[in-house]
């Protein structure tokens, strides 16, 4: 399983290195959505500062949907996916591999977005450990839920529209929990342990689900 996971992650990352789609399209998109959200909210600086945690997470979520879309398109069209299936790779390995590759891309995304938020919205972080642990826990659940739903929708002609509809409501808890951790870490009062707990539970459940459910998904 781990060997297959490595193989798949290496393939995804190599294709990314060659095509640089995530770097050139998903990263700028994350920035872009940050800016658009700022536009939508208006120019009031206190308002912006107040909403910056939510906007950070919302941008991350939308960008991660794009990242997932890219991760799916790496699998190629129907014929390519069938050819891959005929290699008899362990489904759990495929799931883990794709999740890991996506995680690495999400990590890069988080760093860039965080920089963006700190600069654009003048946010000051007072509790780095909290922020960082939320930024480590959340993408695990994010990536694994996205990969599962991604493969629920692959091969359908309408993946591009169906994926966000399916995956975003499921990710809503991440948005809330992440945003709360963020605002506590940037000085708001509140209990962050609960929120970190939700992030951890979410991550655990979806990694497990992926390992268990990916088999039936890949079956045919």
């Amino acid at each position: 399983m781990l060997r297959d996971a490595r193989l798949i992650a290496a393939r995804d990352l190599r294709i990314e290195m060659r095509s640089k789609v995530a770097t050139w399209q998903v990263l700028p998109f994350a920035f872009l959505s940050l800016i658009l959200f700022a536009f939508a909210i208006g120019p009031d600086p206190t308002l912006l500062k107040q909403t910056s945690p939510g906007l950070f997470w919302l941008s991350l979520l939308f960008a991660s949907v794009l990242g997932t879309q890219r991760s799916l398109s790496i699998e190629g069209d129907g014929a390519t996916r069938e050819a891959t299936r005929l290699l008899g790779i362990d489904p759990a390995g495929i799931f883990l591999g794709k999740t890991i590759a996506l995680l690495i891309e999400l990590a890069a995304l988080e760093i860039v977005l965080l920089g963006g938020v700190l600069v654009f919205f003048h946010t000051q972080v007072s509790n780095w450990p909290l922020l960082i642990s939320s930024l480590i826990l959340a993408p695990i659940g994010l990536a694994s839920a996205s990969v599962i739903y991604g493969s629920v929708t692959t091969g359908l002609r309408s993946t591009a529209t169906l994926l966000p509809l399916l995956v975003l409501p499921v990710l809503a808890p991440l948005l809330i929990a992440g945003a709360r951790c963020f605002s506590v870490a940037t000085g708001s009062r509140g209990n962050s342990a609960e929120w970190l707990g939700i992030l951890a539970v979410f991550a655990g459940i979806y990694v497990l689900l992926g390992i268990v459910l990916y088999g039936p998904l890949e079956e045919s």
């Binding site: 839920a145 599962i148 739903y149 629920v152 929708t153 091969g155 359908l156 002609r157 309408s158 169906l162 509809l165 399916l166 409501p169 499921v170 809503a172 808890p173 809330i176 929990a177 709360r180 509140g190 209990n191 609960e194 929120w195 939700i198 539970v201 979410f202 459940i205 979806y206 689900l209 459910l213 039936p216 998904l217 079956e219 045919s220």
Partner: protein
């Protein structure tokens, strides 16, 4: 008793129960001290919500798991799950509508970002997504598997959504608006009417489920009957050319 008859009787009985419930709710039970006649929505809205959230989506999740489990895999499970989600979505939307109607006079607004309301809305979208996935044409086996997984994931997310939304609400805002404050005035006949409403809506759920399920079976049965002739037609293609 055949299934057709069963379906019919479930339908008749639960419709009768619902009518009785409306009668009790509108004419027999007294108006509430605080809410007046508005309280009568209590005989519809909570029952709808209960059926949608727990019964319909619960049944869908369980049947989806049973579908994925190799020993219990059968299209019956898939069809029940699908029918259950369909009815569930209808009931959820009705919950939202009745809730909004109730909210308008009580809170003065149609909608508020209360925890329960928000999570209901999210849930509706989640399962509308399931139905959208189901609509996309693909091989029935593949579709059944994909939908089962989508349903499981969505169902597992429900409690997480619930908690996060509850905390989301309470952290920011102190007093929550939703406080129907029914307990002190609950009357004997009101309790019975309430119970009847739950039974009636459960019955209606079962009835709608059976109807949708039978429709699905009928469609596919047409195919099974058609299989022999389809095979004959198919083989004939070989000799004609």
């Amino acid at each position: 008793m055949t299934r057709r008859q069963l379906t019919k009787w479930v339908g008749v009985v639960s419709l009768a129960a619902a009518i009785a419930d409306v009668w009790l709710g509108l004419w027999v039970t007294p108006p509430d001290v605080n809410q007046g006649d508005l309280v009568r929505l209590v005989y519809i809205h909570p029952a709808l919500a209960w059926v949608a959230l727990y019964l319909a989506f619960g049944v869908a999740a369980i049947c989806s798991i049973l579908y994925l489990w190799p020993r219990t895999r059968s299209f019956t499970m898939d069809r029940i799950a699908a029918a259950s989600v369909e009815v569930g979505v209808v009931f959820t939307v009705l919950t939202l509508i009745t809730g909004s109607i109730w909210g308008r006079p009580t809170w003065g607004v149609w909608w508020t970002w209360d925890a329960r309301l928000t999570s209901t809305a999210l849930l509706a979208v989640m399962f509308i997504g399931y139905l959208a996935l189901r609509r996309v044409p693909s091989d029935p086996h593949v579709r059944a598997r994909r939908c089962a997984i989508a349903a499981i994931i969505a169902a597992i997310d429900v409690p997480i959504v619930h908690f996060s939304v509850v905390w989301w609400q309470t952290l920011h805002q102190g007093a929550t608006v939703l406080n129907p404050n029914l307990t002190p005035t609950i009357h004997g006949i009101m309790a019975w009417t309430l119970l009847l409403s739950f039974l009636a809506f459960t019955g209606i759920f079962v009835w709608m489920l059976l109807v949708r399920f039978d429709m699905a079976v009928l469609e596919d049965a047409g195919v099974d009957d058609g299989l022999e002739s389809a095979l004959i037609d198919r083989r004939a293609e070989g000799s004609s050319s």
